[in-house]
Each structure stands twice: as structure tokens, then as C-alpha cells.
């Protein structure tokens, strides 16, 4: 017993010692460092405005966190502005990653640094990623210096309802500043991967798709019931009739799980409905319709046979990961070509890295989709204005337009190409130092 306790202590001590390592190195905070009120003018670059074409030799002015001017060479630059010469460079809006686990993980193999999934039950809508979000994560500086300025942080997909997503900005003085929209949406995963164990002898409900669908349906029915009880209580409580008010009794016991589902029952917020193969997509869509959910589709990687149906729903799709392997019988490019196929049907698509450490590679997935037929402008939209619209944030994000946030990237080439190097990143009009844990190691050893 003593031995076991000792081992445990050693393990804890080791974990504690190890957990020191992944912290951000001194000097790299995730806040944008320079003065907040500086006016910055980017001059001479090729502007990919997204919403109103390409402007060669253009000017972008940012003031008080927002874009105040976008135009050609003749655009007026306010006196006192810091002028950054970006001649020969490409200027585009900050990229939006529509699914990451940034801030929920440091070292993947170390459970102590991972808060991606509460795996104790399949129905966990009351988990909020903002409660775990690690603002000082070393991964965010690594990601943003490749031009990703905003992202959805989602719990991992191991539960049917794993919790609620937050939308983040990849810079800020604290988690509060970075978590720009909390509980923006709720993933609903129906890919067959959410069952607890696949060992028949130790089967535990839900062991099958039947089980998972039924469990999910019951969860929404429970939420409807909870909502009715709340409404009935409120009605009695606010009745003009005193007797009726007395009959109201105690309010229904607060249930965090059911409460978390309420905004989704009437489509106030979207569910991000994840399915890969056609049968799962159809089952999940039926379920969503049954409860009048507002839907953003996710993955649809193996559902090329339902392209017409997907297009007919009019729903937007977060497509990918396009690096998913095709089915055994499929051609090698069956998944690589999904973004092009969806866009051709008029579906609004967005890309996601579905990752944390490699979120920085988001634009390359879009570039690969271009290789397989997606028009380049569509690919860039799927990283900017499309996700901004899908997440309801296009007033602030997604294009180089006056009035939008100064989330702007300058690079030495095509934003989607693997060879391109990002030279400047601005978030809310402030220049982000191109520094990360990794650049520090580079500078230490590259002599």
C-alpha cells in the first residue's frame, strides 16, 4: 500500500515537473504587444479583399482596431500613421479555422495537458470549452504566425454531444479577450465513433448507431420536457391569479445538461452536425429536423453520393478533413475533391484543420482542394468570408472592408501555397510579433 502511494506520489511529482515544460516561454505572451492606438497603413501590396476583388498596389489603413480604408495606390494615408511597405506582398484577411482544439491541449500524449473531451458520457452538452481554454498555450503563437487569426475551439468528437464551442481570436491579454464568442455552437457528432467500447462482451449502452440515435433523441425530448416544465412554472408564477401563483410551487430543479440544450431547440444557435458517410448523414439530418435544429454540416467526407441532397438543404458545410482516406473501393481523390464538388453545387463551404498543433497548415488543405478543382477564389472564401458568415460574424471578419476588425495578414505569395511565408500578422489592428516557442528555439540554435 505504502509502495503504491509512493509510486503515485512519484507519478504526480513527475507529472507536475513535466507539466512545467509546455508553458509558453518567457516573453511570449499571447497578447498583441504594441500600442493599441497606433494607426497602421499597409502600402503597395496586392490586396485580396475577398468581397470586392483584387486591388494591385493597394493600401489598407487600420485604426483603433478596425480597418478604416481599403483602396488603390491613391488612398489617403492619415498623418502620423506607421506606414509599412508591403510592395510585392499579398495582403488578405486573417484566416478562420472552423474547427480546432487550440487551448485544450499542449502535449497530445500527456493526459494532464489535455482537456479535449469529457468522455464519461455521450451526452455532455453542458461542457463549455471556455472553462478549459488555456490562453497561454504555446500552440497559439505557432498558429497565428502562419496567418490564422480566428478559430472555433471545439471539444473532441468522441461524444455525441461533447459540449459547446467557443469562437476565439488568436491574440489577447487573457482568455476573456481571446474568447470572443462563448458557446457559439454545439457539435452533434454522428459518425459511428461515439460508442463507448466495441467489445461485444463488455458492451455498454449505446453500443450501436441505434443506441446512439435513441439516446440523442431522448436527450432532446428530455430538454423539451424541461422547457415545458420551466414554462409552466413561469406561467403560474407570473399569473395575475394569486391562487394560481401559489400553485406554482418550487421551480423545477435546475438541470445544467438540459438547460444547455435549450438554445438549440428553437434554432437560436446552430448545431454542428458531423457525419461522414451517407447513411449517418441522413439519420442525423432526420434527427435534426425532428427537433427543428439549426444546422451547420460537418465533414460529409464520404457522402459524395448525396451531393444533390446536401445542396437542396441549403445548409453550409465545414468540409474535411480532406486528408481522410477514401473508402477501399474509391478513387484516390474521392475525398480530396469533395470541396470542389460541394462548391460546384452551390454549397457554402468552410475549411477546418480539425487539429491543434497543425492548425497552422489550414491554408494548405484549401490549396490542395484547388488542385482537385475548387476555384482559388472559392478556396480563399472558404477560409475567410464563408466561415465569417456561417458563424454569424461577417460584420467584423472575413474580408478587407472598411469597418471590419483589423485582422490582416501579409505574406510573400499565394496564401494557399505551402511555400508561402507570412511576413506580418495584425489582429485588431495590432501587429503580432512573429515569435513563438519554435522561433525562439530556431534563433537559439541557428547560428
Amino acid at each position: 500500500m505504502l509502495k503504491r502511494t509512493l509510486i503515485l506520489l512519484v507519478l504526480v511529482a513527475t507529472a507536475a515537473a513535466q507539466s512545467k515544460k509546455p508553458k509558453s516561454p518567457a516573453g511570449v505572451v499571447n497578447s498583441a504587444a504594441p500600442a493599441a492606438n497606433e494607426t497602421i497603413a499597409l502600402k503597395g501590396g496586392k490586396l485580396l479583399t475577398i468581397t470586392h476583388g483584387v486591388i494591385e498596389n493597394g493600401v489598407v489603413v487600420m485604426q483603433n482596431g478596425r480597418i478604416t480604408a481599403v483602396g488603390g495606390a491613391g488612398t489617403a494615408i492619415p498623418a502620423g500613421a506607421k506606414v509599412v511597405d508591403v510592395t510585392g506582398m499579398t495582403v488578405y484577411p486573417g484566416l478562420i479555422d472552423s474547427e480546432t482544439h487550440l487551448g485544450l491541449t499542449e502535449v497530445s500524449a500527456d493526459r494532464m495537458t489535455n482537456d479535449e473531451l469529457e468522455a464519461s458520457d455521450e451526452i455532455m452538452p453542458h461542457m463549455h470549452v471556455y472553462d478549459a481554454f488555456h490562453a497561454e498555450t504555446a500552440l497559439i503563437p505557432v498558429t497565428r504566425i502562419n496567418g490564422i487569426t480566428n478559430a472555433i475551439v471545439a471539444p473532441a468528437s468522441g461524444d455525441t454531444l461533447p459540449g459547446q464551442d467557443s469562437f476565439i481570436q488568436l491574440a489577447g491579454a487573457s482568455a476573456t479577450e481571446m474568447l470572443t464568442v462563448r458557446d457559439i455552437a454545439m457539435p452533434l457528432n454522428f459518425t459511428g465513433q461515439q460508442r463507448r467500447n466495441q467489445n461485444f462482451d463488455q458492451a455498454k449502452f449505446p453500443f450501436t448507431r441505434m443506441g446512439m440515435a435513441t439516446q440523442l433523441r431522448q436527450a432532446f425530448i428530455d430538454a423539451q420536457d424541461y422547457e415545458q416544465k420551466l414554462a409552466a412554472y413561469e406561467k403560474k408564477k407570473s399569473s395575475a391569479d394569486e391562487k394560481e401563483r401559489d400553485r406554482a410551487g418550487a421551480p423545477p430543479k435546475r438541470d445544467l445538461k438540459l438547460e444547455a440544450l435549450l438554445p438549440y431547440l428553437h434554432g437560436k444557435k446552430p448545431v454542428v452536425l458531423a457525419a461522414e458517410q451517407p447513411n449517418d448523414l441522413l439519420t442525423a439530418l432526420e434527427l435534426a429536423n425532428e427537433f427543428h435544429l439549426k444546422v451547420i454540416l460537418n465533414h460529409v467526407t464520404h457522402s459524395a453520393s448525396l451531393l444533390d441532397k446536401i445542396a437542396a438543404t441549403g445548409l453550409p458545410v465545414i468540409v474535411g478533413p480532406i486528408y481522410e482516406q477514401p473508402k477501399e473501393s474509391e478513387r484516390y481523390d474521392a475525398v480530396f475533391s469533395m470541396p470542389a464538388k460541394l462548391a460546384k453545387q452551390g454549397v457554402k463551404i468552410a475549411f477546418a484543420s480539425y487539429d491543434a498543433h497543425q492548425s497552422r497548415n489550414l491554408p494548405y488543405a484549401a490549396g490542395y482542394a484547388v488542385g482537385f478543382g475548387l476555384p482559388a477564389e472559392e478556396a480563399l472564401k472558404a477560409l475567410t468570408i464563408n466561415p465569417a458568415q456561417i458563424w454569424g460574424l461577417d460584420k467584423d471578419l472575413g474580408s478587407l472592408e472598411v469597418g471590419k476588425l483589423g485582422n490582416v495578414v501579409v505574406a510573400n505569395g499565394d496564401p494557399l501555397d505551402v511555400k508561402t511565408d507570412v511576413k506580418h500578422v495584425f489582429i485588431q489592428g495590432q501587429e503580432i510579433p512573429l515569435v513563438s516557442k519554435q522561433t525562439q528555439l530556431r534563433d537559439q540554435y541557428w547560428k
Binding site: V107, S108, A109, D110, A366, V370, G371, D414, L416, V418
Partner: protein, 438 residues
């Protein structure tokens, strides 16, 4: 009558033999009979040829004779009957070589039952029908080193394949490729055995089991040397020691017969591995993954050891925490031969993009191209055969619709030994030797 029925029986037997042969052939992705045994003369004309060893040839041509590159240049003297592949507006480069892969091993990548398993032969698990071979081929890969996993300090012996998807098993094996053996270190062995409360559960244990294994192998070699000496002296009573597959394999390491490929992440472990190699007198061919190579690159270079790494993987475990995307360029500039590899069924399909990322992080175009062709060929020990477009080399060539080291480039055709195995313009899977359902 009796005789006749006997004959009838023989005939039946023959028919059933024939049927079973046919059935066997049908189980394979394609019949053996479709093997292109006779190579046609081929000319690839009009493309931008990235030779790897002698620069870029605009509007260049390659003449392929008998499966080998016979001529390369602005103009070649090909016979009139040669098959012409028009590569106008396209890019022509050697087939990509993946120096770290675990595809097509029937999910039998690790024998995690002992930390020392040098006698495991990956050839025994090689599944030539695995579609992953096809999907890598469609990404321009023509040669892969299929390695044992990293559960063991000393794993098994690798198999080198050419991606001739659709042919029979033996035709996918790279003929004459040297034998590689996989070593590992660090977190994986200590985790796998530590979880079972066995040795090794620490890096101390890791290196101890290796040392002990080589000491045992030396002892084994000595017993054979003694026996050989007795035989030489004419001792007719000398009895040979029992052959031991495991010790025999370790002895092959010490005899320098195997290329040693070591899974290793951390700077201190490169140094320990190099010291161990010196102590026991074997050479290390390459460090694989090698995320901290940049910290001790000069020492790795001084030992003539190559590095097979990813351009930007990091953070998935502690020994990957200091991985940086400038690892390749720093190591290369300090004189290390650097390859970019996949270690992934996914990434092996787009190693051209990985090389493109190499450029992003500072490699020159030539260095990046070498990192997926000639350098991995060296790691596998087949650099005299493949990895560049040079006269006398195997005609393993990929043709791309645009500059290959980019996000958007697609493979149009892949030739191996002068024959086209993948052609994007073909319907179905785009394969020439594979017949669906056969």
C-alpha cells in the same frame, strides 16, 4: 475401363490444379500474366525536367530503354518506334521516395512482446494488395521503406518496395535493395514495456537492454568463430553451435550487413546512440523523426548519419515538444543529409507538399527536392538505382501538371522501371495494372 477412369481422374486433377491456379491468380490485384515483362522504349518529351543531380532542363526529354534511363537532355536519340509521352507544359521529376513508412504491413507493424526483436522480417507481413500502396503511387511515390514500428529498442528488418500496384507480391519488392533494420529509443519502448511493468521503463533501461543484446550477440559470434577455427584446423569432431535467429540478426548488425535506421527524437539520445554504435562497432544509417537534430546537427553530420524527418510535426508527445519546422534547414546547413518522410498513410500521398513546406522554412528548391528523392534513396541504400534522373538509373518517374513542390500540383502519370502504373486521365482508379474485381 479401369485404366480409363484413372486417366479421367488425372484429367480432373489437372483441371482442378489449373482452376486453383486461376483462383489464386484472381485473388491477387491482377493476374501475374499482366506483368509488363518486356519494357517498351519510351520517350518523355517536352516537360520541365527536374533532374535532382544536374539541375532543371526546360523542354527536356528522357529516353527510357529496357526500364532504365538511357538518355536525358534537350534532345535524345530515341528509336522511331518508341512510345511518346507528351509532357509539354508539365514537370517531370524522379518518383518520390518515402524513407519511413508502415503501410501494407497488414497492421502488423510492431511485435511488442520483447524490446529486442531483430529477427522479425517485415516481408512476412507485407500485403501487396493494400490500397495504401496505390494511393501513395497516385501521389508520385515509387519506392518506400516499410519499417517495423518503434515499440522495441531493436525492431525487425524492413522491406523495400516499388509501388507497382496491381502486380504480384514478389514484383513489388525492390530487387537488390539492401536490408535495413529498425531501432527505436525514448518514449515508445519505455511506455510499451513500462506499462507491463517490464524492463525497459526508462531511458536507462532502454539503452541497457540494447547493450545487453549486443554483448550477447558478441558472445554468440565468438562461439561461431571458435567453431570455424576448429573446422579450419581440421577438427572433425567440432560441433556447430545452434543457430539462433535473434542473435544471428544482431550479429548481422555488428558485421555491418544491415542499414541501421533509428527512431530517435531527443538531442541527448542521438549522442547516446552514436556512442553505442561506436562502442559496438556498427554504423548508423539514419535517425528517423529526429525532431531535435537541429540541436546537435554538427555531431550528426560528423558521423555521416542522415536524418529522415517531418517538416513540421511537433507536440504530440514530450520528446516531440521541441520540434520546429526549421529542423530540416538547420540540419541541412550543418551538413546533414536530410530526407522528408511520411510515417503516415496520409502524408505519404503528398510528400511533394511536405517538400514545399521545406522551402517555406528555408530549404532551397534543390534541397527540398532532394529531401524526397535522392536523400531518402541514400537512406534506403538505393541511391545508385533511383532518386534522380540520370542515365543508367531505373526509370522511376513522376509527371506533374505544374511545379510539384506546391499545394496544388497533381500527379498526371507515374512510371516505374519505364512502365506507366498510374495515369490520372484513366477512369476508375487510374491504374494500368490493376483490374477491379479481379
Amino acid at each position: 475401363m479401369a485404366r480409363r477412369s484413372h486417366l479421367y481422374g488425372v484429367a480432373l486433377l489437372l483441371v482442378s490444379c489449373l482452376l486453383s491456379t486461376l483462383a489464386f491468380a484472381q485473388q491477387q490485384p491482377s493476374g501475374q500474366q499482366s506483368s509488363p515483362a518486356i519494357h517498351n522504349d519510351v520517350v518523355i518529351k517536352g516537360g520541365t525536367v527536374l533532374t535532382v543531380t544536374h539541375g532543371k532542363i526546360e523542354n527536356g526529354s528522357i529516353y527510357i530503354h529496357n526500364g532504365k534511363i538511357a538518355e536525358v537532355g534537350k534532345k535524345v536519340n530515341a528509336p522511331a518506334g518508341a512510345t511518346v509521352i507528351d509532357a509539354t507544359g508539365k514537370f517531370v521529376m524522379p518518383g518520390i521516395i518515402d524513407s519511413h513508412s508502415h503501410i501494407a504491413l497488414s497492421n502488423d507493424v510492431n511485435e511488442p512482446t520483447s524490446p529486442i526483436t531483430p529477427h522479425m522480417m517485415m516481408h512476412d507481413a507485407f500485403d501487396y494488395s493494400d490500397k495504401a500502396i496505390y494511393r501513395a503511387l497516385a501521389g508520385g511515390v515509387t519506392t518506400s521503406l516499410l519499417l517495423h514500428g518503434s515499440a522495441n529498442m531493436i525492431g525487425g528488418q524492413a522491406v523495400v518496395i516499388k509501388h507497382k500496384y496491381g502486380l504480384g507480391r514478389d514484383e513489388l519488392i525492390f530487387p537488390g535493395a539492401p536490408q535495413s533494420i529498425k531501432f527505436a529509443s525514448g518514449e515508445n519502448p519505455k511506455r510499451v514495456y513500462g506499462q507491463k511493468n517490464q524492463l525497459p521503463s526508462t531511458r536507462m533501461g532502454n539503452f541497457e537492454v540494447m547493450r545487453a543484446a549486443f554483448i550477447e550477440a558478441r558472445e554468440y559470434m565468438r562461439t561461431w568463430d571458435d567453431y570455424d577455427a576448429k573446422v579450419k584446423k581440421g577438427d572433425k569432431d567440432a560441433t556447430p553451435p545452434k543457430k539462433d535467429l535473434k542473435l544471428e540478426a544482431l550479429a548481422d548488425v555488428l558485421r555491418g550487413k544491415l542499414l541501421v535506421q533509428i527512431h530517435c527524437y531527443r538531442a541527448d539520445e542521438f549522442l547516446t546512440e552514436m556512442a553505442l554504435a561506436k562502442e559496438f562497432g556498427y554504423k548508423i544509417r539514419a535517425f528517423h523523426h529526429a525532431l531535435e537534430a537541429y540541436k546537435v546537427a554538427d555531431k550528426i553530420a560528423a558521423n555521416g548519419i542522415a536524418v529522415a524527418t517531418w517538416p513540421d510535426w511537433w507536440g504530440f508527445k514530450y520528446e516531440a515538444w521541441d520540434g520546429i519546422p526549421w529542423n530540416a534547414v538547420i540540419s541541412a546547413h550543418k551538413g546533414v543529409r536530410v530526407a522528408l518522410k511520411s510515417d503516415s498513410e496520409d502524408v505519404t500521398r503528398r510528400l511533394n507538399q511536405e517538400a514545399g513546406k521545406g522551402i517555406h522554412y528555408g530549404l532551397t528548391e534543390d534541397e527540398a527536392l532532394k529531401a524526397i528523392t535522392l536523400n531518402p534513396a541514400w537512406i534506403i541504400g538505393v541511391e545508385d538505382r533511383v532518386g534522380s534522373i540520370d542515365v543508367g538509373k531505373d526509370a522511376d518517374i513522376s509527371i506533374w501538371n505544374s511545379y510539384p513542390l506546391s499545394s496544388t500540383a497533381l500527379v498526371d502519370k507515374v512510371l516505374i522501371d519505364g512502365d506507366v502504373y498510374f495515369d490520372r486521365s484513366l477512369p476508375g482508379l487510374g491504374l494500368t495494372q490493376y483490374k477491379e474485381g479481379q
